[in-house]
Amino acid sequence: MSFTEVFAQNIELMAGIVYLVAAILFIIGIKQLSKIKTAANGNIISAIAMLIAIIITAIKLNIDNPAVIQWPFIIAGIIIGTIIGYFLAVKIKMTAMPQLVAIFNGFGGGASVFVALAYFLFKGDALLSNVDMITVVLSCLIGIITFSGSMVAFAKLQGLIDGQPIMFPGSHILNLMLAIGTIALGYLAVVQQATFSNAVLFLLLLTGIAFVLGILLVTPIGGADMPVVIALLNAYSGIAAAMTGFVLGNILLIIAGSLVGASGIILTRIMCKAMNRSLANVLFGGFGQHESNVSKDKSEYQNIKSTSPEEVAAILDAAQNVIIVPGYGMAVSQAQNAVRDVFHTLEKKGANVEFAIHPVAGRMPGHMNVLLAEADIPYDKMKDLDSINDSFKQTDVVIILGANDVVNPSATEDKSSPIYGMPILNVHEAKTVIVVKRSLSPGFAGIKNPLFEKENTLMMFADAKEAMAKLNTELKEL
């Protein structure tokens, strides 16, 4: 007997072993992905695990169903998907990274729905067990919510729709009714499975309603909370894949899906904690909607001192310790390269310059780190909240670049503030605080920032990129 024959006869065993190896590699990959030194390696290990899983699955399917397997469709699907995935991953700007993750995530959820539907529609006359049928329902439900929710998150971050929370009276009740509707339809699909056409109808209706539900669940959430939503939807797409694993009886789908689901939920929690908010508050709060309507009035600020690039350059020229606090404003104006130039100029002048990065600065956790790394800022210059917060007292100048809520002292001083208790960067402890901001408009929390009125604060009203370019020119002339 030739090797290929032995292999073909034992394909079940071979596939099982390869799946085990792939599952182990996924675990090692995720583990390594959570440490700076090994992260790049971890990603490659996960990719290898995925590749061997795909190859053994294709071989097994070919051996099991040689007459049925649709190679032209498989090859076409992989080629088309690879081209689109490659194009998106390589061409998209680093600043658009959050919405890209959202869209990839949505596709993963969508795929789960189609796989479960295809399985159910074409399983033949055999009835599924109740457990299997429940997992079909859950695949469709969770998968489609992931899909439509991710698309809304994408549209909000891309600016296709308003990033502000969109709420209307009775929205929670409507969502609740839709949720109950999907559960009822899911129940009907399970118990009426014997009447195939009914079950199909219920399943499709359920998928349609859950699609709308996914949209309605994400629209009330403000742009600043999108990272949490994407992390949560990422967890959902893992759970959807795991549910589809139950449908197909595929253990690797179950293991990989639940790994992603569980780690995604942890990541969501870490991110909520950084904002000092509960997940429920993020999901149902409509945060920042009401306040922002009242506090856009600039007149409520008093004793604002504005400054110019020349003045700031002169202050910086004498500074020994400088900390730069980047925020979403830096991402919006693509100021990372201009910031790097200022960073280099200051370092040449002998100043010690560091970056203080708040866990929720920007639109994704680590958003600022990615942008600064893209601009070649050394990694050891980027400090997180805990490691830098005590240094502000010894700092001569803090430059706040398009950040707002994460440096709002109300979080520690004003018990009535909606952000009270959120850990902030204690920038007000520095000798001089320069705030680079286009206007006095509030950040995403929609509240006033008393930092702007402080004795040691100077406001530089400008676009972050222009401000940094001008500042660099002035610094070089000194």
């Binding site: 990959g29 990603n43 995925m50 795909i54 067990s129 990422n234 197909l248 780690s263 680590g366």
Partner: protein
């Protein structure tokens, strides 16, 4: 019935592993970690392959093809974009 129990066992244990694995992650890695695990959830690609291997039927093939394209975008795009982010930290 016993087989579904094996699958549930794998599900529960993998949930625990996923839960315990992510404890201390530096904020820098939050986005790459999210993006990398997102690529792993593209494992649904093997389900999409299966959907194209069990029936010969135009509708089934179209559904399977759409699933496969979506899953492949998730996998290829996800790993590549994660790699692109992480490469920047290496410099």
């Amino acid at each position: 019935m016993i087989e579904i129990l094996y699958l549930v066992t794998a599900f529960v244990l993998a949930c625990f592993v996923g839960y315990e694995m992510i404890t201390k992650v530096p904020p820098t890695l939050h986005t790459p970690l999210m993006s990398g695990t997102n690529a792993i959830s593209g494992i649904i690609i093997i389900g999409a392959l299966a959907a194209l291997a069990y029936v010969k039927n135009p509708l089934a093939n179209i559904i399977g093809l759409v699933a496969l394209i979506m899953a492949t975008i998730n996998v290829v795009g996800g790993f590549m974009v994660t790699n692109r982010m992480l490469r920047m930290f290496k410099k």
